[in-house]
């Protein structure tokens, strides 16, 4: 049922170093943000709009203020600085003042002595709304028949890609209109923050669970009208992120309450509130038409993407670009006509989630690949192999694929993984779709196999100056690393010391507090931290090593250029000199800071042409599913995968990323969806938003393809996002294979299978 990992040597790169926070996390002593307390602390809570679209006529907070135990109530009038925030466009109000544009939009906040007092106070705030008809269908925005719901208009971004021969076609033409439901990141550790006002009341220290401390800092300080140096952020323990902590949620509210009450404020969302308090994966409708020659080779792709961005911009413009620039998937394509829209509606704001626009595109292009295969009379493997992209191929944006691109190897290595045993005649009921619900007998079950292959851009795109900072210090015979890289569970706190050990030959490495007292690390997203912050830590350690070699060289009269690290020693490459690093650094101290920037990228022109992406990673997934066709229930049996990782830096962490991503992709394939009706979320709870359980988890058989990526500072590609991208279409393809019916929408619901 699983692979056991044993025996480790030094915890250097390539070995399965264990998490330094592991003992704390298993014993309950690790402090998550929601575990934090401060003396004299009050609780904060948020009042949210019950309407998807309404004009605020009046707000009366007097009854709430009069409630015993309530310290203060704040609204838009209490925001001293910029009234809005946003990652790309500052279009989201800290508190709604004139209009509310989605259910759950913050309107006011309170501080009180107990969470229950907060709840009662919120109920006493009187708001009169003039309810308006919400814009819930993005097509109504595109057609222009709905008047703007925001001063910035209803089209967040529109972008085309025009490439090659616009009239190219072939004997095979297949098409489909694909629909992707709204997925939630559903991290377990709910939004939480603790804001502590400075004693002079002119500054604040925020402990928060976030993905990007410095971006939060700049947005918060603008809203608070405080200089950036009077707002300090420290990363609290983060219980998962998956994109949902990229945008501001409670940060500004918590700081405002703390400054107004002049007391520490703790805020913590409930699960229900969390569904309204953070952005989700964009629901999308994607039309694709592939033209192919008789052998199944892609000639041209036509596509139209519509992403529902919800009420505010968040990262919708970037998600759109990711989606449309991945139209072709990991396949050669010379001709394309792509039109893409990110639309503002009165649905919940959507933004970053693991896969970031590529998940949606991949479901469409992989569904199409199977249709081409069928039309050409070839197998799902063959169609992917004959179209597989390679390094040096041009993309539909005109950019050349410069990354290592072992697409064909991903496919063949996956195909070489043995298929699972057939379902035995006598089988545990828990192995069947429906499980302990006892809905099926062995004889009701049909097995299917399906494929998905994907390409995912790594790091930020479109000219963004993406960088990460790290400082390495040697002091008292020990290494100290300082960075602002958000540890959200991915394991950068494990990796960073591994890098330092490899570069410096020292084993005692300590990570200093993760806060804004050092330069930005950028966001823990876009599969970028191993590459970016890893590169920064590597760079800082190399600078320190250079100083160390100079020190040793002068002490022993050797040219420092002759010195190298060999395991835990410093060695003269030419002579016989050898000294342990630990001995060599006695009395030596040194500190160096390094910023790692990735190569420059460009914005797309009006035809969607330009070198907009930094690098790419690839993966193949093969899914085996058991389906009860009559009831429409599915059990995913096995996921085989071969992933292009560049280089494995920590095998244990890497397999954890693969298995975790696969489970999230499985969720989107068969169960996870925020169900919307008329702008209202119908299932904001874990009773009705279903996440995969231990009994839903497939057996994962994974191969890591190690082809050193020369562009990457450590040779390693980001591995966080690819696992969750093509597994979804692979599972859907397997269901189609089992039932012989097309499925155009995810998640696939029982009724989609059997009715």
């Amino acid at each position: 049922m699983s692979t056991t990992v044993t025996a480790r040597n030094r915890d250097v790169l390539g070995n399965s170093a264990l998490r330094p926070d592991g003992a704390g996390k298993v014993s309950g002593s690790f402090e998550f943000t929601s575990d934090m307390h401060a003396d004299n602390m009050l609780w904060g809570a948020t009042l949210r709009s019950p309407h998807p679209y309404a004009r605020i006529v009046s707000i009366d907070t007097s009854a709430a203020l009069a409630l015993a135990g309530v310290s203060c109530v704040i609204t838009s009038q209490d925001v001293p600085g910029k009234p809005t925030y946003g990652l790309i466009s500052s279009d989201q109000p800290v508190f709604a003042s004139d209009f509310v544009r989605y259910v759950g939009e913050p309107v006011a906040a309170v501080a009180a002595d107990h969470p229950e007092t907060c709840r009662r106070a919120l109920a006493l705030i009187q708001i009169e709304y003039e309810v308006l008809t919400p814009l819930t269908d993005p097509e109504d925005a595109i057609s222009g028949k709905f008047s703007p719901i925001h001063p910035d208009g209803n089209i967040i971004r529109h972008q085309r890609i025009i490439r090659g021969d616009q009239s190219a076609t072939g004997p095979i033409v297949v098409e489909g209109l694909y629909e992707i439901g709204m997925q939630d990141q559903a991290f377990l550790g709910l939004e939480a923050a603790l804001a502590i006002p400075d004693s002079d009341g002119a500054g604040v220290h925020l402990h928060v669970a976030t993905q990007w401390l410095h971006e939060d800092l700049s947005q918060i300080s603008a809203c608070l009208a405080l200089p950036a140096n009077r707002v300090r952020l420290t990363l609290g323990g983060v219980g998962g992120a998956f994109g949902a902590r990229e945008d501001i949620s409670l940060q500004v509210h918590c700081c405002l309450l703390a400054l107004k009450a002049n007391r520490p404020i703790k805020m913590q969302y409930s699960r229900e509130e969390s569904f309204f308090g953070h952005v989700h994966r964009h629901p999308a409708k994607i039309f694709m038409r592939h033209h192919a020659d008789a052998s199944g080779k892609i000639v041209k792709i036509d596509a139209r993407f519509v992403f529902d961005g919800g009420a505010y911009t968040s990262t919708s413009p970037a998600v759109l670009i990711n989606g449309i620039t991945h139209t072709q998937g990991p396949y050669k394509c010379d001709n394309a006509t792509v039109d893409g829209f990110a639309i503002r509606t009165n649905n919940p704001p959507c933004g970053a989630m693991r896969g970031f626009g590529v998940v949606q595109a991949c479901f469409a292009h992989e569904s199409q690949m199977d249709k081409i295969a069928q039309a050409a009379g070839i197998s799902p493997i063959e169609v992917r192999l004959i179209n597989a992209m390679a390094t040096g191929d041009p993309l539909i944006t005109g950019q050349t694929m410069e990354s290592v691109a072992p697409v064909a190897r991903c496919i063949t290595d996956t195909a070489n993984i043995p298929l699972p045993e057939p379902l035995p005649e006598i089988v545990n009921e828990l192995a069947l779709p429906g499980g302990s619900g006892l809905t099926a007998e062995r004889s009701n079950i049909v097995r299917g196999i399906g494929w998905g292959v994907s390409m995912k851009n790594l790091m930020y795109s479109e000219g963004f100056d993406d960088f990460a900072t790290a400082r390495c210090t040697i002091r008292d015979g020990k290494v100290f690393l300082k960075f602002a890289t958000s540890e959200v569970g991915q394991g950068f706190v494990t990796l960073a010391p591994q890098i330092a050990r490899s570069v410096l030959g020292l084993d005692d490495v300590e990570i200093e507090p993760i806060d804004t007292q050092v330069g930005s690390a950028g966001s823990t997203s876009a599969s970028r931290q191993t590459w970016m912050s890893g590169g920064a830590v590597d760079g800082a350690c190399r600078l320190v090593r250079e100083q160390m070699f100079k020190h040793v060289g002068s002490m022993h009269n050797i040219d420092p250029l002759r010195l190298v690290i060999s395991d835990t020693d410093i060695v003269d490459q030419i002579g016989t000199f050898r000294i342990s690093v630990q001995d060599a650094i006695e009395g030596f101290s040194c500190s160096e800071t390094f910023e790692h920037h990735h190569r420059k990228t460009e914005e797309l022109d009006e035809n969607g042409q330009g070198n907009c992406h930094t690098a790419f990673a690839f993966v193949a997934h093969r899914a085996v599913v058991d389906v009860d066709p009559e009831l429409g229930l599915v059990k995913v049996v096995q996921i085989a995968t071969a992933q292009d990782v560049g280089r494995v830096l920590n095998p244990l962490s890497a397999i954890g990323q693969l298995e975790g991503g696969i489970a999230q992709g499985l969720g989107l394939a068969v169960m996870e969806e925020i169900v919307m009706k008329d702008g209202k979320v119908k299932n904001p709870s874990f009773t009705d938003y279903l996440l995969p359980t231990a009994l839903d988890a497939p057996n994962v058989v994974a191969v890591m393809i190690e082809e050193y990526e020369p562009q990457a500072p450590l040779g390693a590609k980001g591995i966080g996002e690819p696992p969750c991208i093509s597994v979804t279409p692979a599972i859907v393809a397997a269901i189609r294979d089992a039932i012989g019916k097309d499925l155009l929408r995810i998640p696939v619901r029982p009724q989609d299978i059997c009715l």
Partner: protein, 281 residues
């Protein structure tokens, strides 16, 4: 004191009588959700968790097993229930998570009376009887009369549910439940079928497809009219299918965020048909 810990049925019901605003709490797995989600603001609470007499399983007469309202699902999953009322054990195993099953109780399922309550179709298919106790009297109510709507039953404020009597049936019984994942799921549609070999009849009850649990009386009597329903009877696939269709016709499901009426009706026809086939295979 807003929390009253009752240690006997008598003290619980007299506390109920004395506190018209009081609410009963047993396992807490339903009520605490309401409180945590801010739907209920409790004032006086009467905890019956510590009443030992509610945790007993007895056999008051040959054909009856009496299960105390305080027996948790985790116990109902096991022997002796597994052998004596297997459908109840099967239904109990599908309730929530192991943690929920360790806390939630049979009485709680009845007290909440949700159409998705997993043990309720079993009670309806077995014609179970609910025991109620008030300060002044005790009464027994047929399950069919007990549940009257979505989360509505005829329990009076000063009564507590003390036990449920399940007839011990010679024959076959089974519970099936459709949910969208393989564990911990609220039923989209469920069915309990009991084939009583002594009486030569089949009884079918449906969950999550109407405001109350639905007994498929018409499908049952149609089946009775076309087959003998004796032990060892072979049910043809046509009869099983028709039985399923008739059961589905008796359901009255709705569209909601968990599923559609159309799917629920379809699922019922499949479940009923499969259960019947299993009962006579």
């Amino acid at each position: 004191m807003p929390m009253i810990i009752a240690t006997s049925v008598e003290s619980a019901v007299s506390a109920l009588r004395d506190h018209p605003d009081a609410r009963i709490i047993q396992g807490g797995t339903d009520l605490m959700v309401e409180i945590n989600f801010n739907h209920v603001k409790p004032s006086t609470m009467i905890s019956i968790r510590d009443i030992e007499s509610l945790k007993k399983i007895t056999q008051p007469s040959n054909g009856i097993i009496r299960i105390g309202s305080g027996v948790p699902y985790s116990q109902l999953e096991q022997e002796p229930i597994l052998s004596v009322v297997p459908a109840l054990a099967q239904a109990s195993r599908t309730v929530g998570s192991p943690q929920i099953r360790a806390a939630g109780t049979l009485g709680g399922n009845l007290g909440t009376c949700s159409p998705a309550g997993d043990t309720l179709p079993v009670m309806f298919a077995l014609d179970a009887t609910v025991h109620l106790q008030s300060p002044s009297d005790a009464r027994e109510v047929a399950i069919h009369d007990f549940m009257v709507g979505v989360k509505k039953n005829i329990r009076r404020h000063d009564e507590i549910i003390t036990a449920v009597d399940f007839p011990i049936v010679r024959g076959w019984q089974g519970y099936s439940k459709v949910g969208v994942r393989n564990a911990m799921v609220i039923s989209v549609a469920s069915a309990c079928l009991v084939a009583d070999h002594n009486e030569g009849i089949v009884r079918l009850a449906l969950g999550s497809v109407g405001p109350t649990i639905i007994r498929c009386r018409e499908a049952e009597s149609w089946l009775h009219s076309v087959t003998s329903l004796q032990q060892g009877e072979k049910i043809s696939s046509d009869i099983a299918k028709e039985f399923g269709h008739r059961a589905a016709k008796e359901s009255s499901p709705i569209d909601d965020h968990r599923s559609t009426a159309e799917y629920r009706r379809h699922a019922i026809s499949v479940l009923a048909s499969r259960l019947l086939t299993k009962a006579y295979s």
